[in-house]
Each structure stands twice: as structure tokens, then as C-alpha cells.
């Protein structure tokens, strides 16, 4: 228990120390958006008759008529009070948009990461156990294939085969069948909300919608995870303690799983953390292909139309997620290897 308390305190301290970085990200994005060419007011005043007057109205609405330092101060004040501004694109508060969309992205990314880990770690271990064998080459080939095919290609391919040709998958439009009713929102994660509501049909429908996009994302990240597992397992299997464990006649699975894998897992956790953060921000193509209402496609649309507030909100969110994920990874380190403490 005291160890746990110490971990929490350390984690809290760690989080506080990352606040200046978050602030830096915030200011940097704010300035970057204003330096980029492209005037959002002109873009959004694009009705057939929109002239100078409309542009001025929008500029005023977005607060762009004030000098940049003043805009920055107002923005920081708003962010401090929990308001990330309003999106011109959806007409909603950015906080509301992100709250609606983040669970969608997280659910997809978690599932994809889970699929990737469940596939990659055994594959990596197998490859490491028989280096140079046909299995090893098979895994290498599979990984190369996964990395070579961009996610939107694999996504479109999966749609073509499972939806268009075979008709097995539901139509690839969003998180749940358009005709189905949604469960009352508790967490925003549909799989969890459906379970809470006791609606198993709904759960199954949501699961079916999730599986193709999650697969196409997972395919892409299996490679780094499997390769890291393999490399780290090879080191671990060649080490003294494994030789000792073998020599005292421990069962092979115990040697592999308890001794070798546990020691080999640290770099895998690190990579998994990085992969997770990257996936969350970079799965825009998958979100587009599957009409997934996530944060990444939202941010891309906002960027194309120079809609400042959502882009800034998105970057801040991603930075926060990155900080939290890193923290989690550090805590997991401690569990995987008690010698490691976070400080």
C-alpha cells in the first residue's frame, strides 16, 4: 500500500512537471495556426453572395479582428476556464465535439492496439524461439506486408471483401448501424455503454462495426510490435538467467513466459505507448474510410478549412493524451520490472 501511495504521488509530480510542456504546445499551436496562410473568415463566408460584410461578421465572431497578442490572452483565459472555443465547421463548442468524438477514437485505438498486441507478441516470441526458421521468415513477411500496405488501402480492401463482396460486415459507416438506437451515454465507449444497458444486440452490432477499422489499423502496427518483441526476446533468451532457468529443469513455458518474456516486455511496452499515441492522432485515414466519427478526421477537416479552435483543441488534447500515456507506460514499467521506479 505505501508503495502504491508513493507511485501515485510520483505520478502526480510527473504530471505537474509536464504542464509547462502542455502550455508550450498550446501557445505554439496558437501562433502556428495564425502564421499559416489561409483566412478562415474568407473560407467560411462562402455563400453565393458572401462579400466583405460577411467576412467581417465571421472575423468578429471568431475574434480575429483583435491583435494577435490580445487573441492569445483571451484564448489562454478561455482555456483556463475550460472553454476551447467554438468550431465554425460544426457550429459546436470544441469541448463538446471532442467529448463526443474522443471516445470513438479511443475505443477504436484500444481495440486495434489490443488486436495488434495479441497478434504481435506471440508472433514475436515464436519468431524468437526459432530464429531463421520458416516461422521466423513467415512472421517477417507478414510484418513487411502489414507495413507496406497503407491503412486506407487495407481498409478499402477489407470493405471491398467483407462488405461489398461477401456481405458479412455491416455497412462501414460509423460506430453503430444507422437504424439502431444508441444506448444511454455513460462512458461514450459504445461497447461498454451497451453492456451497461444490457443490450446485447446493440453490443454485437457495435462490435461488428468496430472490427474492420480496428483490423486495418492493427495490421499496420503489428510489424513494429512483433519486431521489437522478437529482438528483445532474442536478447533475453540468450541471457544467463534463462540458461540457468533451463539448466535447473524448469518447464519450457515457464522459462519463456515468466523469465524471458517478462524481461523482454519493457521495450514492447514503450513501443506500445508510442504506437498508441501515434495511432490516436494518425488514424485519420481509417476514420475517413469508415466514416468513423473520431477526433483525427475532425482535426483534419478543421485544418483544411483553417478552423482554428478545433485544431488547437485537438493538439492540446493529443499532447495531454501523450503525457497520460507516457505516465501509464512508466507505471506499467514498475509492474513489469519492480526495479524501475518513476521519478
Amino acid at each position: 500500500m505505501p508503495a502504491l501511495g508513493a507511485t501515485v504521488i510520483r505520478a502526480g509530480r510527473r504530471f505537474l512537471s509536464s504542464l509547462p510542456a502542455l502550455f508550450g504546445v498550446l501557445v505554439f499551436t496558437f501562433l502556428l495556426m495564425r502564421v499559416l496562410p489561409g483566412d478562415p473568415a474568407v473560407f467560411f463566408a462562402s455563400g453565393p453572395n458572401a462579400g466583405k460584410e460577411e467576412i467581417e461578421i465571421i472575423r468578429k465572431q471568431m475574434g480575429l479582428n483583435k491583435p494577435v497578442p490580445e487573441q492569445l490572452m483571451l484564448y489562454l483565459y478561455d482555456v483556463g476556464s475550460g472553454n476551447l472555443g467554438r468550431s465554425m465547421m460544426t457550429g459546436q463548442l470544441v469541448t463538446k465535439d471532442l467529448r463526443e468524438r474522443l471516445p470513438a477514437s479511443l475505443e477504436l485505438t484500444f481495440t486495434a492496439l489490443l488486436i495488434a498486441l495479441v497478434t504481435a507478441v506471440p508472433l514475436g516470441v515464436l519468431a524468437a524461439l526459432r530464429p531463421g526458421s520458416i516461422i521466423d521468415h513467415g512472421v517477417r513477411f507478414f510484418c513487411a506486408l502489414g507495413v507496406c500496405v497503407p491503412t486506407f488501402v487495407s481498409g478499402l480492401l477489407l470493405i471491398y471483401v467483407f462488405y461489398y463482396l461477401l456481405g458479412l460486415a455491416p455497412d462501414p459507416t460509423g460506430r453503430v448501424d444507422i437504424f439502431a438506437s444508441l444506448p444511454p451515454r455513460r462512458t461514450g465507449f459504445l461497447l461498454i455503454d451497451f453492456l451497461f444497458a444490457g443490450d446485447f444486440d446493440g453490443w454485437w452490432a457495435a462490435f461488428r462495426q468496430l472490427i474492420l477499422p480496428a483490423l486495418s489499423m492493427a495490421l499496420f502496427v503489428v510489424a513494429p510490435l512483433a519486431r521489437i518483441t522478437r529482438a528483445s526476446m532474442l536478447v533475453s533468451l540468450g541471457s544467463d538467467f534463462v540458461r540457468t532457468a533451463r539448466s535447473v529443469g524448469l518447464p519450457w513455458w515457464r522459462v519463456v513466459v515468466t523469465y524471458a518474456l517478462r524481461n523482454a516486455i519493457l521495450p514492447v511496452i514503450t513501443i506500445a505507448g508510442i504506437v498508441f499515441s501515434t495511432m490516436l492522432g494518425a488514424n485519420v485515414l481509417v476514420e475517413k474510410v469508415f466514416s468513423w466519427p473520431g477526433v483525427a478526421s475532425y482535426a483534419l477537416d478543421a485544418l483544411l478549412s483553417s478552423d482554428y479552435a478545433p485544431v488547437q483543441g485537438f493538439v492540446l488534447l493529443m499532447a495531454t493524451v501523450f503525457v497520460i500515456v507516457n505516465l501509464l507506460v512508466d507505471i506499467l514499467y514498475g509492474i513489469a520490472d519492480p526495479r524501475v521506479t518513476i521519478g
Binding site: L36, P37, G38, D39, P40, V42, F43, F44, A45, S46, G47, P48, N49, A50, G51, K52, E53, E54, I55, I57, I58, Q61, M88, M89, T90, G91, Q92, D97, E100, L156, I159, Y160, Y163, Y164, G167, D171, P172, T173, G174, I178, F179, F200, D201, W204, K288, V289, F290, S291, P293, S297, Y298, D301, L303, L304, S305, S306
Partner: protein, 538 residues
């Protein structure tokens, strides 16, 4: 173990049975539901809000009524909106005074808002006042119909409203049929107005208070809108409520996915597929494809007439004769549209006073070289050709062909692909020398096109042309009551256009509506979206 096992089995069986039952219920309502998929999204329920999307226009046309609406006519076997036929929507009838200065609308006695209260002239007055007073998009639109002040709208009695005009303006009445002057339930709207927001803009953006054919069931900006039929609505063409009980407007960003959805029968209607997908779906013959040339839209290659070398008319002429029109038309649109090139004008006179008309230009490199020589640039020059990312699927192949062809007469072209917001900013600042863009007019008359797209130092004057004759004729034509004289003015304007060639009209792209074979009644509308009220299923 076995108990939980069998219980689980029972649960699975029950859930399968349930889902089958649900499936059959769904199948019954499915045919009464229209699922429309689009690459764009709805961002407001009030089309007047600055920044509102075209999809938002389509939704508001179903949730609100206007005083009048356009009729429809057949053009080459396809239904299109009819500017010349204006019928009552909330108005039972209307009169225009002989001097054209007064329009009187008598409201339908049976028209009710969705909350059951009757539609009164007070509501109409409030709504029209809002369009011309509040900071909304409709203000600039109604300006084109000489409606600028709340004083012009007068309540005569609870069912009669009068609109007075400073000048007889042909476009005044059609303007009231456009997207913006929708009629709000003023009591409800006023109840949500605040001191800062006297016209309830914020509330109406996310709520509706109208009398239209559909009620909003759920609205998720950027994702989907679900609407349920208003059974009491009877302003349709056949004086009955709309056909579909439910309309789902869903955003599906990936065009290939939209094509799959409609081909598999999961979506009923889509109007923004890629030309190549439309081509292949049409070839398969399973779906209904209605292609209507967007006769109120034009795609151009524009040149900035104020920046050298395009300030020289001979350079512009050289470019006009050096574009590979046929190849561009095929590569960009797969030939889906109506071309505006390759015409022959008898004795070099414009063939009509309409706008746009096919221009007497074609690929003729010898002629282009002569013009370049006449411009004093026989060796050509370098420039950039820009287009926006949003139009990349058509503009990219086109740009490559432009570059290739202009290279043959010595003009070196760099292709520049700009994010949409950057492109509109640069156009607004008049910084782009050479680019492609499109225009659309809701009320396509010759003078309207010339006044909006060829005059003044403003954004829509893409070519930045400044020709006093053109301005004068276009302004005069606006209030020209005599049809023959109007036609004459149109011919003059078209002649100036060809002589100056400020920009090169290429084509009018088709609106390809791809739908399930059972969907009927599709009509091409001025706003280039689907009016869901037109549709039914056989």
C-alpha cells in the same frame, strides 16, 4: 458450469430471435425511410448562420417553409427547377402590382407550425425582418432582390403581408423562394432571443421552429441528421405530406464507400460520387443515374486581368486557344457535363444573350502562338496554375493537361495545389495569376452573372476584370422590363466577354444523382442539393 453454459446458450438463442424480429420490423419501415449519404455535413439548422454548408440548406428546406417556391419543369427528360414558375408555399396566392413595386402575399389559412399554432403574417414579417436586419447570410442575397430594410415588409391583416420595392426588380419574387427567407415561428424564436442575440441566432442554429415537411429527430453536427415526417404538412406539389416517413442524412467522407453503400442498396441516394464511380455504376445498370448539367453553374480557367502577363488581352487569347478542351473534359469529368467550348458563332456574333453560352474557342496552337507574338511574348513566360484540394479529383488531371499543352507554346506552368481556405484567401486578395474555379448562381439570369462575377473589386470577380461598358450594360439590364431589349443587352455582354476573354468558361459539370431504382421524383434544384420533399418510392 453446465447451468451457466445452457443459460448462455439460451441467451444467444433469444438474442438471435430478437434480432430477427427486429430485422423484420426494420424491413417494413426501411422502405419508408430515405437514407441519403454525402461527403459534406450539416453544421447548422438555420441556413442563415454564416459558415453554413450546402447540406444545411437542404435540411432547412425540409424543416421550414418559405412564402413561395420554384416550380419544376422537364429539361431533356430530366426534372429541374423552374425559375419562371413561382408557386405558393406558405402563400396561398400572391399578386404583383402592375408597376412592379408591390407584392402582396395571402397566407394559407390551414398552415400551422410544427407546434400546432397557425402561421400568421406577424411571423412572416419577423422572419423577413430578421433576414434583412440580423448579421446573416440572407442579407446579401435579398439585397440582389432590392429588399434591404424591415420597412419594406408590412402586415396588412393576420393572413396578408405586403412587400414594397424601391424599383421594379425581376429578382425580388424569386429571391423569396431561395434558401434564406424561411418563415420562423416568431413566438418560439422570440422566447429564445436574448439582449445580445435579439434574433435568436444561437438558439435557431441548434433548434428548429418552423412549419416544414420534416421535424428534426436528431442532429449530430458533422455526422448525421435524422428527420421525421410532419404529417400535418400539406404544402407539397400534390397538396399532401411528404412521402418518406423518415429521412436520414448521413456524412460518409470516403467517396468509394458512398458508392459501395448505394450499390449494395444500403443507401438510397447520393449526389456527390466521383465521376469514375458514376460511370461504372451506370454501366452496371443496377441503379438509377440521373445526370443533370448544372445549368446554373460554370467551371472556369481564370486569369487575373490586373497582373502581368495576363493584363494583356492577347496573352489571355493565346491561353484560350492553347487549352486542350476535349482532353480536359474527358480527363476531369469523364465527359459528364455540358461543354462550353468548340462553338461556332455565325459572323462572330454571340449566339444568344443567355449566360453561359458555348464559346467559339478550341485547341489551335498556331493561333495561340500568333496571339503570343502579338502580345510581344513570342517565347512565352512562366506562371503558376492553382486549384484547391477539395476539387483535386477533377482539377488535378485538368492541371496536368493545361501544363502540358501550354508548354507547347512556350508557357511554363507550375502546378500549385492549395488547401481550400488558402485558395479562397488568395482569391479574395487577388494574388493568384492563373487558376481554376467554379461559380454558381441561384437565380441564373445574364445580368446577375455579369453583375456578380464580372464587376467590382470583390472576391467573386475571379478575373478582376474592370470594364466600364460591361458594368453599365449589366446594371441597366437588371431593371430592363422588355424581354427583347434584355436579350440584346445579353448579346452585348457576351460579345464583350469574348472580346476581352477575362476568363475561359470550360463546362457545366453534371450533377450525378445515383439512387436506388425505386426512388422517384428527383429534381435538380437551384441550391444543387436534394429537396427531400420531392422524393417518393414506388
Amino acid at each position: 458450469m453446465s447451468v451457466t453454459g445452457s443459460r448462455r446458450l439460451l441467451m444467444v438463442v433469444a438474442s438471435i430471435a430478437l434480432s430477427l424480429a427486429a430485422g423484420s420490423v426494420q424491413a417494413q419501415t426501411r422502405s419508408e425511410t430515405l437514407r441519403y449519404v454525402t461527403g459534406a455535413s450539416v453544421n447548422t439548422l438555420d441556413p442563415n448562420i454564416p459558415g453554413s454548408t450546402r447540406e444545411a440548406f437542404a435540411v432547412s428546406l425540409s424543416t421550414y417553409d418559405r412564402l413561395v417556391s420554384f416550380g419544376r419543369k422537364q429539361l431533356n427528360g430530366k426534372w429541374v427547377f423552374d425559375l419562371g414558375k413561382i408557386t405558393g408555399e406558405l402563400a396561398e396566392s400572391y399578386d404583383v402590382s402592375p408597376d412592379g413595386l408591390k407584392m402582396t402575399f395571402r397566407l394559407r389559412k390551414d398552415a400551422k407550425f410544427q407546434d400546432g399554432t397557425p402561421v400568421t403574417a406577424e411571423d412572416v414579417k419577423w422572419s423577413l425582418d430578421r433576414v434583412v436586419t440580423a448579421p446573416v447570410l440572407g442579407k446579401a442575397q435579398l439585397l440582389t432582390g432590392s429588399m434591404t430594410s424591415a420597412d419594406q415588409f408590412k402586415v396588412i391583416d393576420p393572413l396578408t403581408i405586403e412587400v414594397t420595392l424601391p424599383k421594379p426588380d425581376k429578382l425580388a419574387l424569386p429571391n423569396l423562394a431561395t434558401v434564406y427567407p424561411i418563415i420562423f415561428n416568431s413566438k418560439v424564436a422570440k422566447a429564445h432571443a436574448t439582449a445580445d442575440d435579439p434574433w435568436a441566432l444561437a438558439w435557431l442554429k441548434e433548434n428548429t421552429a418552423g412549419s416544414g415537411a420534416y421535424k428534426i429527430e436528431s442532429f449530430k453536427p458533422g455526422e448525421q441528421v435524422i428527420m421525421a415526417r410532419n404529417a400535418a404538412w400539406n404544402r407539397g406539389t400534390a397538396d399532401k405530406s411528404a412521402f418518406f416517413k423518415r429521412v436520414i442524412v448521413q456524412s460518409v467522407p470516403e467517396p468509394a464507400t458512398r458508392a459501395n453503400l448505394v450499390e449494395r442498396g444500403d443507401a438510397d441516394l447520393v449526389i456527390d460520387l466521383q465521376a469514375s464511380d458514376v460511370q461504372s455504376l451506370e454501366a452496371k445498370g443496377k441503379l438509377k443515374v440521373i445526370s443533370t448539367p448544372q445549368y446554373n453553374a460554370v467551371t472556369f480557367v481564370s486569369m487575373n486581368n490586373q497582373i502581368p502577363p495576363f493584363d494583356n488581352v492577347n496573352v489571355r487569347r493565346a491561353v484560350a486557344f492553347a487549352l486542350p478542351y476535349d482532353d480536359m473534359f474527358k480527363a476531369a469529368l469523364f465527359g459528364r457535363g455540358s461543354p462550353l467550348f468548340g462553338a461556332t458563332w455565325a459572323d462572330g456574333k454571340p449566339s444568344s444573350g443567355a449566360y453561359p453560352i458555348p464559346q467559339p474557342v478550341k485547341l489551335d496552337l498556331e493561333k495561340a502562338k500568333e496571339y503570343l507574338k502579338a502580345a510581344g511574348m513570342p517565347d512565352g513566360f512562366s506562371t503558376t496554375f492553382s486549384f484547391n484540394v477539395g476539387q483535386a479529383s477533377t482539377a488535378e488531371p485538368m492541371a496536368a493537361l493545361v501544363k502540358e499543352s501550354l508548354a507547347k507554346i512556350g508557357i511554363k506552368v507550375d502546378i500549385q495545389k492549395l488547401p481550400d481556405a488558402q485558395m479562397s484567401t488568395q482569391i479574395n486578395e487577388k494574388k493568384l495569376p492563373f487558376f481554376t474555379e467554379g461559380i454558381v448562381a441561384w437565380l441564373p439570369s445574364t445580368d446577375y452573372f455579369y453583375r456578380n462575377f464580372y464587376t467590382g473589386n470583390q472576391r467573386w470577380n475571379y478575373s478582376s476584370i474592370n470594364n466600364p461598358d460591361l458594368v453599365e450594360i449589366a446594371q441597366k439590364a437588371r431593371f430592363e422590363p422588355d424581354a427583347a431589349k434584355y436579350e440584346e443587352d445579353g448579346v452585348k455582354l457576351n460579345a464583350i466577354h469574348f472580346n476581352e476573354i477575362p476568363q475561359i468558361p470550360l463546362w457545366q459539370p453534371s450533377q450525378d444523382a445515383v439512387m436506388a431504382p425505386s426512388v422517384e421524383g428527383y429534381t435538380y434544384q437551384f441550391h444543387r442539393q436534394v429537396d427531400y420533399r420531392d422524393l417518393n418510392r414506388k
